[in-house]
Symmetry: C2
Subunit: 152 residues, 2 copies
Amino acid sequence: MKNEQAEEIFRSFLKNGKNRNTPERFEVLDAALEYEGHFGADDLFILMKKQKSRVSRATVYNTLELLEQCDLLAKRNFGDNITRYESNFKKQNHDHLICIDCGRIVEFANAKVKKLPEEISKDLGFIVSSYSFNIFARCKHIKTCKYYNSKK
Amino acid sequence: MKNEQAEEIFRSFLKNGKNRNTPERFEVLDAALEYEGHFGADDLFILMKKQKSRVSRATVYNTLELLEQCDLLAKRNFGDNITRYESNFKKQNHDHLICIDCGRIVEFANAKVKKLPEEISKDLGFIVSSYSFNIFARCKHIKTCKYYNSKK
DNA sequence: ATTGCTGCAAAACGTTTGCACCTAT
DNA sequence: ATAGGTGCAAACGTTTTGCAGCAAT
């Protein structure tokens, strides 16, 4: 078995909504949790196809949406018009710094950042739901950056 | 004439790079500065077509990129995989709260938010270039929200 | 004269949809 | 039995690209 705890969370999420418990959805869950780092829906679909899975593209997209709804995955957006996901299971929440030279993504957790969305929403008369905070920056030592030097 | 000051900024930006000064680019500049609020590249292209402009889609996309490079426009991303722009000319920079009920976009400026990207980048060994901070929230008084009530 | 820019159309890309069949409930 | 899910392929909307002709330098 892959990850019983996450599977249990997903199972009860499905039960509580009017969503059916299907083997394909658990295949997607397992593949998503196994994926290292951030991935697009299509990345995951292609990986699963390579591994001879029979799930369809539509099912992958649909299931990732569900996995976000039950907080097993977090949805990210790094400004390149691709929706990315990452495992949110047993991880503290965090934000991202994206290097514009090399594309590296660095995760950080900052207490001040976390407090702000609620504070600001309250001031504006809204109830906060979520937020996204991305920093775009450059590595100080470009010559030592293996990513930068491997780029076309 | 439309906006001499912005045109002058663009003109000197073009000169300093190896970019040519073409009438089409200034047509896009004027249309972009006139646009109220946030717009996608295609929105602007369609608007310009309606106004009988002869600029091509490729030129609009290309020029918006240039206008962002010289800070006349700011590029935004509200999590829906569409690149949006807004005039950045003579405006204080600000961030956005997006209402997930009604789609309204509220701009706000918060001193704490502005300080954080540099602070965090420094800690991580990077030089900050830009950042994006979006809050997704709900209006408190849904019944009074005209946007929400006009939705399908 | 050179190089970059243009318009156009086609292609690319990630994502969504329509449909007939299937399956968990 | 029935609502919901599936795979497949086609459609979608945004963005990028290839190319021949054009125009700013």
